[in-house]
């Protein structure tokens, strides 16, 4: 039979080459060892320049976490992208709270974050608890149909992963997969910093040969500016497109806006557990927690009435159950119209200034009322 030692197969003579003694395993594996060593060396080179790559393609979750951790702050503004684009701590700073001035604040608004990511951002970003924590919450933060992989990738520790698996067993597989992927990606610096290296290459090439890759060089320039703002400021680094965006104009010109899927298949319960954990953490740390119900466009509310109703019900239950201050930043209360939004949910530069000023006034009023023994 073919292949057996006593085979009559005519292919047998061809085996003379394989009859040579097997090379020693060490010799066989030497090229693979060289390759692995070279990969490690290349990676070490990449790690040595990591600051350059990070500046050219910042991981906003990690940068904001590091910025928030860098020193204690009087107050922290936390939440998802509506907070990232819509709340400026410099405008809020100066407000009086419990007899003292809140002079230094930080905005840890994370694009795409749900309540779960916000919780981990606050817990890890505030080793010294602030006096006041304002969580700018929206309906999409509580939508269990959403999961943000950036959280397991950039915010969570092994203990957090274990806690997640226990708290939210229904998404244990998802979080495990993303947590492991994140850890593995961080093991290989060339993979981790690949976008930063590409941006650096584009910027360098365009500096040497102007006009050779204008689009990539423009993107690299924007990311560098974003990175500098993130590192130097108080976490408020809105994207240029949001600052200048105008939802009113976009509607008038019938410009097609990106689809909004953050309230699709709306259901609550899982992320809500982390809202309670955030309240527990604040209580244990002696931090005042204020929920800021973030304003959204009328179009969004009209598009997802069931989701908005469910969210408002949950928020009311939470407020009643935990005795937490909730500030409702409705469009009417803040004085916002479609012209103050960049899209369905994000405020533009003008809207952000209005909301931040409104928040400062409301915090001052809340503090004053508290002094008078009243709760809003």
């Amino acid at each position: 039979m073919f292949g057996r030692p006593r085979s009559r197969s005519p292919t047998r003579p061809a085996m003379t080459a394989t009859a040579t003694p097997e090379p020693p395993p060490r010799g066989r594996l030497r090229p693979a060892a060289w390759f692995l060593a070279a990969l490690v060396l290349v990676d070490c080179g990449v790690v040595l320049c990591r600051d350059t790559w990070e500046r050219h393609s910042p991981d906003d979750y990690a940068e904001k976490l590091a910025g928030c951790r860098s020193r204690p702050h009087d107050f922290v503004l936390a939440g998802g992208s509506p907070v990232a684009e819509g709340l400026d701590p410099d405008v809020v700073a100066g407000v009086r709270w419990r007899g003292g001035e809140l002079s230094d604040g930080y905005a840890i608004g994370l694009s795409g974050a749900t309540t779960t990511e916000t919780y981990y951002a606050v817990v890890h970003g505030c080793p010294v608890p602030p006096r006041l924590l304002v969580y700018g919450i929206t309906a999409s933060d509580l939508n269990d149909a959403r999961q943000e992989p950036h959280g397991p990738y950039s915010l969570m520790t092994i203990a957090d992963w274990v806690e997640w698996v226990r708290t939210k067993p229904e998404s244990a597989e998802w979080v495990t997969r993303h947590f492991v992927q994140g850890r593995l990606a961080k093991c290989w610096a060339a993979f981790r910093y690949r976008h930063g290296i590409r941006m650096w290459a584009a910027e360098t090439a365009d500096r040497w040969l102007p006009g050779c890759c204008p689009e990539a060089a423009k993107e690299a320039g924007e990311l560098l500016r974003y990175s500098e703002t993130l590192r130097a400021g108080h976490g408020y680094a809105p994207a240029e497109g949001f600052v200048t965006g105008n939802y009113d104009e976009a509607k008038a010109t019938e410009r097609k806006l990106p689809p909004f899927g953050f309230l699709d298949k709306y259901r609550t319960g899982s992320h809500l557990k982390y809202l309670h954990k955030l309240a527990d953490w604040a209580a244990a740390a002696g931090t005042d927690l204020v929920l800021l119900d973030m304003p959204v466009t009328a179009d969004l509310e009209a598009k997802f009435p069931a989701a908005v109703a469910e969210y408002e019900r949950r928020l009311a239950e939470f407020k009643a159950g935990r005795k937490v201050t909730v500030l409702c930043a409705t469009r009417g209360a803040v004085g916002l119209g479609d012209r103050d939004f960049a899209d369905l949910i994000h405020l533009n530069g003008g809207g952000a200034r209005k909301l931040s000023a409104w928040l400062r006034d409301r915090l001052a009023e809340t503090d004053r009322r508290r002094g008078e023994g009243d709760r809003p």
Binding site: F2, T18, P31, F35, L41, A190
Partner: protein, 487 residues
């Protein structure tokens, strides 16, 4: 599963480790066969029956052919094998094409026939493993090889995963002798395997995919929006893209096979250095062109029955070669175009060879350069045929290649930034230069420059590691399948 996928980078080390940890032949090959079937069934899994059925038929046919002394029976089993392989190939690959043309014809005749609302997904590598199956039974019939007794061994020959999806089309006579005992991997094979795999990945992901995304795709999609300079660049870039895509895949296949200790035949010999169309087909997709030569052209009589029959045979072979690539009229035209060129070249060669002054002229360097330019021009026109999205667009690009100017229509923006007078994104010439660097090295060797064939392993592996880093950084990140897997 394809080579440039995340799943493959988990699959390969796992199978490799298992294969080398197992000591004996039987479990080694069983593991390799199971892995190959898993590779095949990854997407879509319900087609596994195709390869299992054809493997079983060819295996039985091989044994029956060998055991029978009756020529009638032997021919019957050979027919069963060939018809099964070609039948399934035609059914999967050409049903849609035939139906579409039937609809067009019926509509032309005024007979209402509904346009198809269905789409046939091709089983992975069907164009390749069917040809392997046919070559096996034909070789057994011809007495070139003995039939394989072990079903597992035969199945592994057909479905060995490195070459399953897009070749090279391996002959039984090349592969089966290596299987008698599990090949022992040498340090050189490990070194070659790693470099071939990584540089193949580089060719595919960095050169081919970026060329397509940056330039070739947009220009071929709407040639009217671009000027003649962009057309010329796009055709050259397409030539480099298809070469890097396919030779990249082949390099990865050969490299992967090497780390298991197997040697697969080469598929390319610097095709863009060809100085005639016949020379080109001796350098491009060798495993297919030699298969067609041995199992189609020679049985048809080859060049043994006079010039007219030879030209006819060439036309048939190349038209079928075109249709093998794809069930579409432009592929048929590509085949006919190459068949015509081959026939013309053969006629010219018959006339000119042996004439002293002509032979002397053809031996000069100047003539070789001229012949190279002419050949390049021919295959570039052929490449337009297979990438064009409409016949009008193809004609426009062919005119640009011939030097006829074209001013873009309307205010359509090219969709990318051009640089200076080149009329092309600056990365494109750079990628073309990278893609053709192997040819330049080959050319230097041809003219006697002592370029080393093999760098010392540490340097080679360092270069491979840098290439792996470049793949990570500069691959476009958009999953694009290999072009030849779609055939």
């Amino acid at each position: 599963m394809i080579f440039a996928s995340k799943a493959f980078f988990i699959f390969l080390p796992t199978v490799l480790a298992g294969y080398h940890l197992l000591a004996r032949r039987s479990p080694k090959y069983t593991l390799l066969l199971a892995a190959s079937w898993l590779f095949y069934a990854w997407v879509p899994p319900h087609y596994l029956w195709v390869i299992l059925l054809l493997t079983a038929i060819d295996y039985v046919a091989g044994l029956r052919i060998e055991r029978s002394a009756d020529n009638h029976v032997r021919r019957l089993w050979l027919t069963v094998s060939v018809v099964s392989n070609l039948g399934l190939l035609v059914a999967f690959k050409y049903t849609g094409f035939f139906y579409d043309n039937a609809v067009s014809l019926a509509q032309g005749l005024g007979v209402p026939l509904a346009e198809r609302a269905w789409h046939v997904v091709l089983p992975l590598g069907i164009s390749y493993h069917t040809f392997q199956g046919i070559s096996y039974t034909v070789d057994v019939y011809r007495g070139n090889i003995r039939a394989v007794r072990s079903f597992r061994d035969y199945a592994l020959f057909v479905s060995f995963f490195p070459q399953l999806a897009a070749g090279p089309i391996v002959r039984a006579v090349e592969f089966l002798p290596q299987m008698v005992t599990p090949p022992r991997v040498t340090p050189q094979q490990v070194s070659d395997g790693i470099s071939l795999f990584v540089f193949g990945l580089f060719k595919k992901l960095v050169i081919a995919d970026n060329l397509d995304l940056l330039f070739v795709g947009p220009v071929f999609h709407d040639p009217a929006a671009f000027d003649d300079a962009a057309h010329r660049w796009a055709v050259v870039a397409w030539a480099v893209q298809i070469y890097c895509d396919f030779s990249g895949y082949t390099d990865m296949a050969i490299g992967t096979a090497k780390v298991f200790g197997f040697e697969l035949p080469p598929n390319f010999r610097l095709p863009y250095l060809a100085t005639s169309i016949a020379d080109f087909w001796r350098r491009w997709h060798l495993s297919l062109s030699t298969w067609l030569r041995d199992y189609l052209y020679f049985p048809m009589g080859g060049s043994r029955h006079g010039p007219a029959r030879t030209y006819f045979n060439l036309m048939v072979v190349f038209v079928l070669c075109g249709l093998w690539h794809g069930a579409a009229w432009n592929w048929l035209a590509y085949g006919a175009f190459n068949g015509a060129l081959m026939s013309l070249h053969r006629a010219y060669d018959r006339v000119i060879t042996g004439v002293p002054w002509a032979d002397a002229l053809r031996a000069t360097a100047g003539w070789k350069v001229l012949a190279w330019v002419g050949t390049a021009y021919q295959f570039l026109i052929g490449l337009i045929l297979i990438r064009m999205t409409s016949w009008g667009g193809g004609l426009l690009m062919t005119r640009s290649l011939a030097g006829v100017g074209h001013i873009p229509e309307g205010d359509a923006s090219p969709g990318f930034a051009v640089w200076g007078q080149l009329g092309v994104p600056p990365a494109v010439p750079l990628l073309i230069a990278f893609g053709l660097s192997g040819h330049v090295v080959g050319l230097l060797r041809n003219v006697g420059v002592p370029v080393p064939h093999r760098l010392p392993d540490p340097l080679r592996m360092a270069a491979a590691a840098v290439a792996a880093g470049l793949v990570l950084v500069f691959s476009p990140g958009v999953a694009k399948t290999f072009i030849y897997i779609q055939f």
